[in-house]
């Protein structure tokens, strides 16, 4: 009876596409894709990096078996009918157009049906932004084949990185951080947060004045607008789906608590009332509830509450230090210190829970895994991994139960948002 109940529960959960369940897909079902490079006039370094980015993107997309060998071909040559080792062919060429702009053309071909599926060209003004061409190509490939939305490939990542004592810059990059551009520099600039899914503006905390100040920066208009300042601590932890409400950590009486800020009404509503630490407010369940980190048990762990109720619900019942979380829809991902030994091995792992069920899914197995952040698609997770004296940028495709690590050469990250 228990077995039947378990099977039914698992089946029902799968039907509901519950990400807290580990979905083990059959290996070998994904189409095998071959990549042919027809580039001649672009320098070797960029050429090599571009190919690696394509391989990385196709792998992270989780829909392909990627042939990682670089095959050379003339872009205009006909596709050889003898190519049977694979299902799909992605042929591309990098070149400079008449105005000297980096460009690319691509061709997606179904090898089994001997049929052209997609042909496109791309141009980018700033050569340094070449990773976005690779990401766009793989996004278009996924779209042409009718796979799930791969828009996370095209999303910008924004982060603050330490450059010295009391010094941190705000930088924008692609999701692999291959492309990086410093946006805010000078002094201590912290906690960048995208203002909406469109990623046209962001919030950040400027620590350089007499009091911490929250600013909104419009990237395209180049404008900076002061939102508010306060004593001790001012952080934008989350932005509502419609971009109209912010969850802030403020400390007007030197006590970090969570506040809801209505940008149109310019009103502040205090959400938590606790004499210890309440931080990292994140909207869940369409903004009706708020998940946050609190040390009200003597150590940081994850709680939830309604905005207009004083009742607080504990969400996590394990770990000795669950001090960071991110949310999307009904899902919460948090980092958890596994042992009581503060500095032992296997220190911090990531877990996924749902506010609507009791399932819990461990997402990482070793190392220090911190700064979890959901991509705008709600199904892809970015995090920082430290393991064996190396730092990496981790990507987890929750629906496909696959994770990837990119080497990270960017220095110490203070905070990151995707």
């Amino acid at each position: 009876m228990r077995v039947l109940l378990f099977l039914w529960t698992a089946f029902a959960a799968l039907l509901a596409s519950d990400l807290t369940l580990e979905i083990v897909k059959e290996v070998g079902n994904e189409p095998k894709i071959r990549i042919e490079n027809g580039t001649v006039e672009v320098d070797g370094s960029l050429n090599r990096k571009f190919f690696k980015l394509l391989v990385g993107d196709l792998t992270v997309a989780a829909h392909f078996q990627v042939d990682e060998q670089e095959h050379i071909a003339d872009f205009t040559d006909p596709i050889s009918p003898r190519l049977h080792d694979g299902d799909l062919l992605l042929r591309y060429q990098l070149y400079y157009d008449d105005r000297g702009r980096l460009s690319a053309r691509m061709l997606l071909y179904d090898l089994k049906r001997q049929q052209e599926l997609l042909k496109k060209a791309y141009t980018i003004g700033d050569k340094e932004r070449y990773p976005f061409i690779a990401h766009r190509i793989v996004y278009d490939v996924g779209k042409a084949l009718g796979f799930d939305d791969l828009s996370f490939l095209r999303s910008f990542v924004i982060f603050s990185k330490y450059t010295g004592p009391k010094q941190a810059d705000i930088v924008i990059g692609d999701y692999t951080l291959t492309y990086q551009k410093t946006i805010v520099t000078g002094g201590l600039n912290l906690f960048p947060k995208w203002a909406s899914k469109e990623q046209r503006a962001f919030y950040y905390t400027d620590m350089n004045g007499e009091r911490p100040t929250l600013y909104r920066v419009d990237l395209y208009a180049g404008k900076r607008e002061k939102i508010l300042s306060g004593e001790g601590m001012v952080v934008c932890s989350d932005v509502s789906e419609d971009g109209r409400r912010l969850l802030l950590t403020l400390a007007p009486s030197m006590q970090p608590d969570i506040y809801l800020y209505d940008l149109q009404q310019r009103t502040l509503q205090r959400i938590t009332y606790y004499s210890g630490i309440d931080v990292s407010g994140n909207f869940v369940q369409d903004g009706r509830r708020i998940v946050f980190v609190s040390d009200r048990l003597g150590y940081p762990t994850i709680f939830a509450k309604d905005a207009n109720s004083r009742a607080v619900e504990r969400l996590v019942y394990h770990g000795r230090n669950n001090s960071s979380c991110t949310t999307s829809g009904d899902y919460v991902v948090y980092s958890s210190r596994e042992t009581n030994n503060a500095f032992g091995p296997n220190t911090f792992n990531l877990y996924l829970i749902s506010t609507k069920s009791d399932y819990i899914r461990r997402l990482t197995a070793n190392g220090v895994n911190i700064f979890p952040r959901f991509a705008p698609d709600g199904e892809t997770l970015l995090f920082i991994k430290e393991y064996a004296n190396q730092t990496g940028l981790g990507i987890i495709r929750l629906r496909y139960n696959k994770s990837y690590i990119y080497p990270l050469y960017t220095g110490k990250i203070q905070s990151i948002d995707w």
């Binding site: 009391k166 950590t249 006590q255 931080v279 990292s280 960071s324 503060a342 110490k412």
Partner: protein
């Protein structure tokens, strides 16, 4: 709000004052033995001993005096993930309170800066630093430092004094420091 804050400060002052009376502490140099800068001022400009005011000092001298008082302040250290002041750190609080209440220090405001080690998440670490700064600020108020002279800020893990990945180094970074501001 002011009334509530005053009540809290008074309560903390009474509680802290009752508990710590028997602690023996190292005393900061008194005004009569004189910090270096004060005697330099007396010799260099012929100004009489400073009794509760530094209006006669120019900006450079004022800055030097501030830096000198800062250098005498004792750093308060904390346990891992904690923001309560350890008993062994209380004598330093008392020392600092006396230092900041010396006549030549009184015109200055004091920024209490909370710092953390590299462990912990982004936002929580800054809140932890803030709570450490608040604990020290409240303790200083309880020891007689005027609350309006004290402001707090957290630098989280952004301002380490030690960069090695060792327990000893992390312990050095879990601290509260002081900066004097005019």
């Amino acid at each position: 709000m002011k009334q509530i804050l005053t009540t809290i400060f008074l309560l903390l002052f009474l509680l802290s004052g009752c508990a710590k009376k028997s602690v023996e502490i190292e005393m900061p140099p008194s005004a009569s033995t004189g910090p270096q800068v004060e005697s330099e001022v007396q010799e260099g400009s012929g100004i009489h001993p400073l009794e509760g005011g530094i209006e006669e000092l120019d900006e450079e001298q004022k800055l030097a005096l501030m830096r000198q008082i800062e250098s005498q302040a004792k750093v308060i250290y904390f346990d891992f993930d904690q923001y309560t002041i350890r008993p062994d750190q209380m004598p330093k609080i008392e020392y600092n309170a006396k230092l900041f209440n010396q006549p030549q220090a009184r015109p200055f405001r004091i920024k209490v800066e909370g710092n953390c080690d590299e462990w912990g998440s982004d936002e929580y670490n800054y809140a932890l630093g803030l709570k450490r700064a608040k604990s020290v600020r409240d303790a200083l108020v309880a020891k007689g430092v005027a609350p309006e002279r004290l402001s707090i800020i957290s630098y989280g893990e952004s301002n380490p004094v030690c960069r090695e990945h060792t327990r000893e180094c992390w312990a050095k970074n879990r601290r509260v420091e002081f900066e004097l501001i005019p």
